[in-house]
Symmetry: none
Subunit: 218 residues, 2 copies
DNA sequence: GCAGAAAGTGAAAATCGTTTCACCCTGCCC
DNA sequence: GGGCAGGGTGAAACGATTTTCACTTTCTGC
């Protein structure tokens, strides 16, 4: 149960909900202020902060119209049902992995039955698609250009021997993961590619997560 | 009828539509640029202007994230159609191919973007899923157990060199197809498997169709 | 070859929108 | 009477986004 709202906070919340229904986007702070006769955007900002704190709204920092209703039911664009839509990412750099999800290059429906990991089902919200950037895993039947279904994971949660998607600088590739002697080892399945070894935290290497499945169009 | 779009304009339009579906808001010019590898926001701005001109997008001048899809806004509650569900078949015999679709062993959502054939998009109603029954195509990155996305096709509609799904008796496998000297040739990509040759109409061999894509869980 | 359309670069200018800073007011509780 | 939470004012700093300017490239039809 979420925390109770004060009267003013509730007015803000209702205003946002109504605005979203009518405009199909969230209002700016100024618009909220205009609607509720608050002259200072800062006044609105504080009220909104309370709403965020109490879990009614979400905020994308520093973004224009960066508010979002937490209850997706209110979201006019929310898809009725069906399989998850995973973002397809590309053109990434290991020194800004945060941008992975923010600059998707497309999106595909992926059946949930493909989102299986050793322990069970993976959360679709943690998954994304990426293209294998080289032929280093042809020996395992993964070829350059294949779509990798990746569950975003910290490298600490990986088990030895799992197939992972990893960023080496700008190259996003699949490799077999092993942790040994305090270092991360990434082994290709093909002899023509070299094994890569990095200490944890090396900015030149960013583990995106475990590969759950692959898809390829012929 | 709205004016035709150039290829690039269409890419922008599709990018915006996809972005909206996934993010529930419209992208910024910069995000479009990132997605389509356009470095200058002005390049995007011009493309978007063309889309606005032709009536595909609307623009709220000088507003952050001020783009809007005309279609969505005109008909906000239009039902969004989901991806097709393809039947997964198994336990088949070449002498009763009609039963292929009758005894599905399950079904998966498959994104339409995976249903592409050389000429264009395949009709989802003609497609099905089947598991590769052997390792005869490992050389092409198809392994036993992989899910094959197959477009049901008569063998006469196949071109030489296409990868096909074919039933040899009870075994459903992928092979490369060639028609030569009045006979159907099915070549494996792996030397340990033998090439199979049949005359048209042989009951021991039934071509299911062309393989459009593969999917594999690790 | 030249004109025009489509697409793009790079950078600057103009706006829009969010965040922060300093300070004020009211009601309430101890 | 002090302290604190909720609500506000105004202004300034910042960052995100759009818009405009000047110039380039590629392709296509006349």
């Amino acid at each position: 149960m979420r925390a109770r709202l004060t009267e003013r906070q509730n007015q803000v919340y209702e205003y946002v909900r109504t605005y979203v229904r009518e405009h199909r986007r969230t209002p700016t702070l100024k618009e909220i202020g205009d609607g509720l006769a608050i002259r200072s955007t800062n006044g609105v900002h504080k009220l909104v902060s309370a709403l965020v704190q109490k879990g009614y709204l979400r905020r994308r920092p520093n973004e224009a119209r960066g508010l979002a209703l937490v209850d997706v039911d209110e979201d006019p664009y929310a898809p009725s049902e069906g399989p998850p839509i995973l973002p397809l990412i590309s053109r990434t750099r290991s020194d800004e992995p945060d941008r992975l999800r923010r600059r998707p290059n497309g999106a595909l429906y992926v059946d949930e039955r493909l989102l299986r990991k050793p322990g069970g089902a993976a959360d679709a919200d943690d998954c994304l698609l990426a293209r294998a950037g080289d032929d280093g895993m042809v020996g395992d039947g993964i070829r350059k250009g294949d779509l990798l279904v990746v569950e975003e994971t910290d490298w600490k949660d990986l088990a030895n021997g799992e197939t992972v998607a990893v960023l080496f600088g700008e190259a996003l590739v699949a490799r077999r993961y092993d942790f040994a002697n305090g270092r991360l080892h990434f082994r290709p399945a093909d002899r023509t590619y070299a094994e890569e070894v990095y200490p944890p935290g090396d900015p030149a290497c960013h583990v995106i997560g475990r590969v759950l499945a692959i898809m390829r169009t012929l």
